[in-house]
């Protein structure tokens, strides 16, 4: 990499992409104006407001012309609202009272919006448009940039404090070259969006606060870095990498395999059945992790067997003849469920979560297994079930017994706790397979809360301590003849995926957007070579050294 560390701002890269483009900053919503008496005359305030409304109307009209289609209709309706006599009359009432233009606009639009909300239905929904117009007019009065997602009219790198779901809903992803956030970590909404859509992103870049609109930057997710004002050389390198990645994305979809033909099935991580079709299109050979929490998170009580069966059946129908691994409800820690565990815990990540919570609420587990068995009977998919957060052999035996009682033939466990990695040999004598969850395995190995930004530096799956535990599980899989999958974020990092295979993983599961990169990387090495790279990484002393060792070994193999 020619990108020098001195000139780079560091953050956490999401995915393997690299992008080059001009910065457009997301402006925060203006602070609500306070009720103040103006020092200007009524006439002067009136003129200021009219000018601001005209400027906003002109801006929205122009954006509409550029956007065309339905977006133009919406923006033109906003222009009409900005100039609507009902609103301008209400503004005038406040101006006559001697208020500032800012306050008059803020108060008048809010009054009209509230009237609309009271009417409900279609008109009620327009209230949000009015608040948006009001925020734009207030910003114009103050000479601030328009709030919300920027639309400079050309492709840009979006730089934001952090992105809320409402912001990203308005984002035209075709215009976004990359995302950079000042706050937020690898589990932030921005990171999830980027991973899901395959957008190049670097999150948590504190120094990005100093970037301005129009700055040309390189966003290098693969190296977790941002480079301001790149040199000619760096730009050429970026262009070459973008071309190389485009070729990888366009490569024919083949089943996952190493250069020597060793099959490494590439599976999808899914959180709802709705994304199944997209995963199939991107070449997923099945599902390696289906999270079932979406069925439970929105409810006060557990969903019925019938509701669950429908969702599972919808998923399984998308994968006829393919393997689908469903994880039993994984509640607790970051996703508490009142009907499973309502106790206040000092350390929820070390508390009653995962399988522990299910075993104290056997009905919930039995209902879920019944629904899964019914869905399997109605479809042709090869259903495997696994328990989350298993830490002992006894828990493995109990879960396998429950699953088999319900007629589910393949029952495995997630390896997320160091104890189960160390006992993998014994666990795999009972379990039909193991699936390594690298996010939690890293959190528990490093004793670093994965949701806590202050210890995010320790949350690195390249850490040799984590890799050694993976090696234990891989070796146990080989000696017992049982499959060992990886379904954490680590499997989506192409070079780390090679290391995991070298350590004994027999399948990899990831966000579907990552499949093409991993597929291409695996094809570059034989199993012997993957093992050599893995061995170099495991022998390192630190996470950074493990990455370097894997890189230099892979480079020297490529040059042989």
């Amino acid at each position: 990499m020619s990108i020098t560390p001195q000139s780079a701002m560091k953050g956490t890269g999401i995915g393997q992409g690299v992008a080059l483009g001009p910065v457009a900053r997301m402006s925060p919503s203006p602070i609500a104006p306070t009720d103040e008496t103006s020092s200007l005359t009524h006439q002067q305030e009136s003129e200021r407001v009219n000018k601001a409304i005209e400027a906003v109307a002109a801006d929205l009209t122009q954006r509409g012309e550029v956007a065309g289609g339905q977006a133009q209709e919406v923006l033109e309706a906003q222009v009409m609202m900005a100039q609507d006599p009902t609103v301008t009359d209400a503004v005038e009432v406040h101006l006559k009272d001697g208020k500032t233009g800012e306050y008059a606009v803020h108060a008048a639009f809010a009054e009209v919006a509230q009237t609309l909300q009271a009417l409900g239905g279609y008109l009620g929904e327009r209230a949000a448009d009015l608040y948006d117009v009001a925020a734009r007019v207030v910003a114009a009065l103050r000479g601030e940039p328009a709030p919300g997602v920027p639309d400079p009219g050309y492709p840009f790198v979006l730089v934001a404090q952090d992105l809320a779901p409402a912001d990203t809903a308005l984002l035209d992803l075709n215009k976004v070259l990359a995302l950079v956030t000042i706050e937020g970590g690898p589990t932030s909404h921005t990171a999830i969006l980027a991973r899901g859509k395959g957008i190049t992103a670097v999150v948590g870049v504190a120094e990005a606060a100093q970037l301005s609109d129009g700055d040309e930057i390189v966003v290098d997710a693969a190296n977790s870095a941002i480079v301001l004002a790149p040199t000619r050389e760096q730009k050429d390198e970026v262009a070459a990498r973008i071309a190389q990645r485009a070729a990888v994305q366009k490569a024919p979809i083949t089943d996952g395999a190493l250069a020597d033909g060793t099959a490494i099935p590439l599976l999808a991580n899914l959180g709802t059945p709705d994304n199944a079709a997209e995963a199939v299109d991107l070449g997923a050979e099945g599902v390696g992790l289906f999270r079932t929490e979406f069925l439970f998170l929105s409810s006060e009580t557990a969903p019925s067997v019938e509701e669950q069966r429908q969702a599972y059946q919808q998923l399984l129908e998308a994968f006829p003849g393919k393997k689908v691994v469903v994880r039993a409800l994984d509640a607790g820690a970051d996703k508490p469920l009142p009907f499973l565990n309502d106790a206040e815990e000092e350390n929820p990540a070390l508390g009653l979560r995962g399988l522990r919570a299910l075993l104290t609420n056997e009905e919930v587990l039995r209902d879920q297994l019944s629904a899964l068995a019914e869905a399997e009977a109605a479809t042709d998919a090869d259903l495997w079930v696994m328990a989350p957060m298993v830490s002992t052999v006894e828990e493995t035996e109990t879960f396998a017994k429950f699953a088999h009682q319900h007629g589910l033939k393949t029952a495995g466990v997630m390896v997320e706790v160091p104890s189960s990695a160390l006992l993998a040999e014994q666990i795999l004598q009972t379990a039909d397979f193991a699936s390594i969850g690298t996010n939690d395995l890293t959190q528990y190995t490093m004793a670093a809360d994965r949701l806590l930004g202050s210890v995010a530096g320790l949350q690195d799956p390249w850490h040799p301590a984590v890799l050694k535990l993976v090696r234990e599980v891989g070796a146990a899989g080989a000696s017992t003849g049982k499959p060992v999958g990886v379904c954490g974020e680590a499997a989506a990092d192409p070079l780390l995926a090679v290391v995991l295979v070298g350590l004994g993983a027999t399948s990899l599961s990831m966000a579907p957007a990552a499949l093409a990169d991993v597929r291409a990387e695996l094809l570059r090495y034989t199993l012997d070579q993957a093992q050599a790279i893995a061995s170099a990484a495991v022998s390192a002393a630190t996470a950074a050294e493990a990455l370097d060792a894997a890189r230099s070994t892979s480079t020297s193999l490529a040059n042989d």
Binding site: M80, T86, V87
Partner: protein
């Protein structure tokens, strides 16, 4: 000079969303002060928020009033607009 007439709305979406916007544009283009009333409630026809708040549906009767030179011909235009179905586009 002032003119008034009552019209039955022909647009299948009434005066919501897109037809409301087109009607308000047509009313503004007459260059005259125009009001539109449904039942007791009368609003400025140049206000999209006012027009939408009437909640006019297909088959409703509305009363248009225009003031000034050319009021009759302005109402001819608006009447023709209201009788047409604008939702095919």
């Amino acid at each position: 000079m002032s003119a008034t007439r009552t019209v039955t709305v022909g647009s299948s979406q009434g005066l919501h969303a897109r037809p409301a916007k087109l009607f308000v544009e047509a009313a503004q283009n007459t260059g005259l002060p125009v009001t539109i009333a449904k039942g007791e409630k009368s609003v400025n026809a140049a206000s999209i928020l006012g027009v939408m708040s009437l909640g006019v549906d297909k088959g409703d009767e509305v009363t248009l009033t225009a003031e000034g030179e050319g009021a009759e011909s302005a109402l001819d235009t608006l009447e023709a607009f209201l009788k047409t179905d604008h939702d095919e586009a």
